[in-house]
């Protein structure tokens, strides 16, 4: 067995979102580009016990559906009114209607018709039932308010505190 010379097209690489976004807003006439968070190091903690004995929490950027906040999809245009600004939590033993209209996802190729693609709670419940891990009693919603300072100084500590209350051993984070 050997690789062939039939290479993939040059464009078919992970999309450069930062470059694309910068160019997009410049073309629209905004010349104050967003500065993405950037660190050289990253922390690391090994799991302290096998996953099957660990309590796992879901952390999501999806928003709860709010009927009074306009069109939230599927297929809604970007809806800043549906954003939320404080951490919220929900009971993982029941289903939740979450939406992503408040986020700049791919409006052309993502239908946003199946919340399992951004909010895997039902599947996590199934995995937990099968013994893969223990599901934390609550999931947590992380605000996407574009203030990195608020994320660092308010939201992240709040999510940590709630995880500790639930004796969480590990977290699965799903940004959209």
């Amino acid at each position: 067995m050997t690789d062939t010379m039939d290479f993939a097209p040059e464009y078919d690489v992970p999309l450069e979102y930062m470059r694309r976004t910068r160019e997009y807003y410049l073309a629209l006439g905004y010349d104050n580009p967003y500065r993405w968070a950037h660190y050289l190091d990253a922390p690391f903690q090994p799991l302290k016990k096998p996953l099957k004995d660990s309590t796992l929490a879901l952390i999501s950027t999806a928003a709860p559906y709010q009927p009074d906040k306009g069109d939230q999809g599927p297929g809604a245009a970007y809806n800043a009114a549906a954003k939320f600004y404080t951490v919220f939590s929900g009971d993982t033993s029941v289903d939740h209607d979450t939406r992503i209209s408040h986020i700049g996802y791919d409006r052309k190729h993502t239908t946003a018709a199946d919340s399992n693609t951004w909010f895997p709670l039902p599947l996590m419940r199934e995995f937990a039932k099968g013994g893969r891990f223990k599901l934390a009693p609550r999931f947590h919603g992380a605000p996407t308010n574009r203030s990195q300072r608020v994320t660092l100084e308010t939201d992240a500590p709040e999510i940590l505190a709630r995880c500790r209350q639930d004796q969480v051993d590990a977290a699965l984070l799903v940004p959209t």
Partner: protein, 125 residues
């Protein structure tokens, strides 16, 4: 979200991020990252394809269990479609007419105003 992962990890809670914006997550630097090369909004698999969702969650858990150090990225082998041309569409001004660019600017000005009002109401502006 990468900031939250880093914060939890630094404070004793191991994390795995499931995402689709590889450059943004890696630029921030997270402990563990399962990258799906899909349009934004599909970090957990393809819509109405439970098998791909199950595969993706399973892979994320394996990365959580097996990573040996920070900045571990694993790329899911799943493909969105055969030609990958969706990547040329996202916010790509080269594929937009001047009228489309103007319309988007007008839309964005409106959205920005809504977001500003929201932040002021929430006391985070």
């Amino acid at each position: 979200m990468s900031l939250v992962a880093r914060y939890l990890e630094r404070n004793g809670i191991p994390t795995i991020v499931m995402g689709a914006a590889k450059d943004i997550v890696e630029y921030a630097g997270v402990p563990r990252f399962l990258f799906s090369d899909f349009p934004l909004g599909n970090s957990c698999g393809k819509p109405h394809e439970p098998d791909t969702q199950r595969f993706t969650l399973d892979l994320a858990l394996k990365v959580l269990e097996s990573a040996i150090g920070p900045r571990t990225t694993v790329q899911s082998p799943l493909r969105w479609n055969a030609d990958g041309d969706w990547k040329n569409d996202y916010n790509n001004v080269a594929r937009m007419s001047p009228e489309e660019v103007a319309r988007r600017r007008a839309d964005f000005d409106k959205v920005k105003q809504v977001a500003l009002n929201q932040r002021q109401k929430a006391g985070v502006a």
